[in-house]
C-alpha cells in the first residue's frame, strides 16, 4: 500500500461494528467499478494466496453476488451478498453471509455499507460492517483465513521488498 494513502481500521466491539476507511489514488469512477464489477473484484478481493471466484453477480437492488474464496489447495468457501440499496457512485449496501455451494445462507450474517467520495483525484471509501454476532466476526477469521494467513503475510513482505527495491 502506498504510505501517503490513508488506511483506517477500527473495531468497535460494543456496537459489533467494524469501520474500514481507505483512500485510493484513482478517480471515483474507477474505484466504483473496482467494487461493483465481478471481473475486477475477483482480481483483488481475496488476499493472496487465496483467490476469489464469482459465480453470479447481478449488481442491482435485490440482486446478489455469489462467490467463493478458494484456497491454494482448491477448497472453496462460499459467500452470498444480497444488494439491499444502490446509489450509483455514492453508496451501496448488502447483506453478507457464508453459504453452502447451493446458495443457502448460513445465518447470522452482517450488513455492509459502502460510501464513496472523491477529492482532487483521490477517492475515499468508507466501509461500515455491522455484525449480528461477534462469534461470527471471529469465525470470519477462523474460516478459511487462519491457515493461509502466514502465506498472506509472506506475500505482503515480498510485495514490500519488491516495492522498496524500485
Amino acid at each position: 500500500m502506498k504510505n501517503d494513502l490513508l488506511f483506517d481500521f477500527i473495531v468497535d466491539k460494543s456496537t459489533k461494528t467494524v469501520f474500514v476507511k481507505k483512500e485510493f489514488d484513482a478517480d471515483l469512477e474507477l474505484v466504483w467499478d473496482a467494487f461493483t464489477t465481478k471481473e475486477i473484484l475477483d482480481q483483488w478481493w481475496a488476499p493472496k494466496p487465496y483467490t476469489s471466484k464469482t459465480k453470479v453477480m447481478d449488481f442491482r437492488v435485490g440482486g446478489r453476488r455469489f462467490f467463493a474464496m478458494v484456497t491454494p489447495e482448491g477448497q472453496e468457501r462460499w459467500l452470498l451478498q444480497k444488494y439491499t440499496s444502490i446509489s450509483p457512485k455514492t453508496n451501496f449496501k448488502y447483506f453478507n453471509a457464508f453459504a453452502d455451494a447451493d446458495e443457502n445462507p448460513e445465518l447470522p450474517g452482517s450488513d455492509w455499507d459502502y460510501n464513496f467520495t472523491e477529492q482532487n483525484g483521490t477517492t475515499t471509501v468508507i466501509i461500515t460492517i455491522y455484525n449480528e454476532s461477534l462469534e461470527r466476526m471471529e469465525r470470519q477469521i477462523e474460516n478459511g483465513f487462519k491457515q493461509g494467513f502466514t502465506a498472506t503475510l509472506n506475500y505482503l513482505d515480498e510485495l514490500l521488498t519488491t516495492l522498496s527495491k524500485k
Binding site: M1, K2, L5, F7, F9, V11, K13, S14, V18, V20, K22, F24, D25, A26, L30, V31, D33, A34, I40, Q43, W44, W45, A46, P47, K48, L134, E135, M137, E138, Q140, I141, F145, F149, T152, L153, Y155, L156, L159
Partner: protein, 106 residues
C-alpha cells in the same frame, strides 16, 4: 457456559473496570467506588471477567486484589490485527489493480 474475552469486553462497565485495574491492582470496594452501581453489580462483572480469565485475584492479608491478565488482553489485539491485515492485503492488491486500470485508460 463458555466464556470468552470478547464477551468480557462487550459490556461498557466491564471495559471501564479493565481500564481502572490496568493501572493498579484494586480491591472490589475500591473498584465499586468508581461506579454508580451497586457493589453486587460490580461483583458480578468481576466474576465474569475472572471467568473469562481477563483478571486475576490475589490475596493480600484480608483483602482480595484484582489485577489485569495482560497475556489475555494480547489475544484481543492479535485477533484485531489479523482482521486488519486481511484488509491491508486486500487493499494493496486493489491499489495495484487500480494503477493498471489507470494505465489502460490512458
Amino acid at each position: 457456559m463458555r466464556r470468552d474475552i470478547f464477551q468480557a469486553i462487550a459490556d461498557p462497565t466491564r471495559r471501564a473496570i479493565i481500564t481502572l485495574i490496568a493501572l493498579q491492582a484494586m480491591t472490589p470496594n475500591a473498584i465499586a467506588e468508581n461506579f454508580n452501581t451497586t457493589r453486587q453489580s460490580v461483583s458480578k462483572h468481576l466474576r465474569i471477567l475472572t471467568e473469562c480469565e481477563l483478571v486475576k485475584q490475589e490475596q493480600y492479608g484480608r483483602e482480595i486484589y484484582y489485577s489485569l491478565e495482560l497475556k489475555k488482553m494480547k489475544e484481543i489485539d492479535k485477533w484485531i490485527s489479523q482482521f486488519r491485515k486481511i484488509w491491508e492485503a486486500r487493499f494493496s492488491q486493489l491499489d495495484e489493480v487500480l494503477q493498471t486500470m489507470k494505465k489502460q485508460k490512458k
